[in-house]
Symmetry: C2
Subunit: 220 residues, 2 copies
């Protein structure tokens, strides 16, 4: 409860922009009680960050569904859908997680290092394996790039694109036709090295699922 309120505050205003008074007010308790639960503002922030790092649903969701056999397309589309759904979805609290991650990167280099190491450890091998499999199947060409770099390029693109979609940061329209998800997927998959044919066949034949998810996001 307190953690949730604090998370919202920190996400919206950053560490220095958040006051303990405002956190207490958001959690509907007194400031004194806040300091009974957490020894300091910094400790509260640290707990939120480690919590955030621990329970990133993007990670867990991706890892839960048959991680080691996921295809490259599934993996990338999973990432894209997840982040865009968060940003565009109606759950503001969830959406603020993106901002929290972004602000904390800039507030606290140590946290960023931790989070990135975790992401790389958990998803990196899966990505590399799926890329290997795609190359072996002739779906992708082995370009001379470090596979992990390709992963990070993709991650950066998805993350930042999602960030600019937040209602609190509405700086891009991305053109009118709202198939941003497909365009982003294709951009990433092409960049990674997947063949046009493979992209079309894998991404095309379940376009319906894509559209369905988007519709859900819009209708809620």
């Amino acid at each position: 409860m307190i953690l949730g309120a604090a998370k919202r505050c920190f996400a919206r205003h950053g560490y220095n922009g958040t006051t303990t008074k405002s956190v207490a007010a958001a959690a509907a308790i007194s400031e004194a009680l806040l300091f009974k639960h957490f020894p300091s503002k910094a400790a509260l922030y640290a707990e939120i960050l480690s919590d955030e790092c621990e329970a990133d649903p993007a990670l867990t969701e991706l890892l839960e569904r048959e991680p080691s056999t996921a295809t490259l397309v599934e993996l990338i589309r999973g990432m894209v859908q997840h982040f865009l759904l968060i940003a565009d979805g109606p759950d503001q609290e969830e959406a603020q997680r993106l901002r929290l991650m972004a602000t904390s990167h800039l507030d606290d280099g140590e946290f960023a290092r931790l989070l990135y190491a975790k992401i790389e450890t958990l998803i990196g091998p899966i990505f590399v394996a799926s890329l290997d499999r795609a190359v072996a199947a002739g779906d992708a060409r082995a370009c001379g790039s470090e596979p992990l770099n390709l992963f990070w390029f993709a991650h950066h693109t998805v993350m930042t694109t999602a960030l600019t979609r937040l209602p609190s940061l509405p700086c891009l329209a991305y053109g009118r036709p709202n198939d941003l998800e497909r365009q982003l997927c294709e951009f990433l998959l092409r960049g990674i090295g997947l063949n046009d044919a493979a992209i079309a066949s894998h991404l095309g034949h379940d376009q319906a699922a894509c559209a369905g998810k988007a519709a859900i996001a819009e209708s809620v």
Copy 2:
């Protein structure tokens, strides 16, 4: 002088993390004098942001060298080199500009909107034109994506990759072989839709220039 010092402070600590006292100290003047020059801290910040938005060297540099005839490869490699050189280069003040842009995006949505609109207006048409030319020349296939979206995907990737290269935010090694620049360029160009052959011919034949620039950055 004052603006430079203030810019450095805001970049490093964000708006709320920066005190007028620290700005005054960095500019080697008294706090009182600071308030003779600028009516308030917020006004100082606003002036810095508009200044920053006005004089973005990434923009001006790109626009200065024969803008309307730049090829897609030149444009993308210009962006990549520019941002990576800033981030990896020895000029910390310059490097902090990246952080300033990133923090201000999160501090102030209005600034972000302004900056993004400006970037889109200035570089967007050039990008679209060069993409059109590449398609016409058979170097790129017209994929069903909004050209401006492709531009923004590329911009996001470059920007965030450069951010994670800052010494103050050293969370990624990007593998050992330090040809990140080439890998990033290829990723983006493939993503945008350029053919492998075109990439190889355009990017390959002046690899020397690339290596030269990187060497300069390292040697300084």
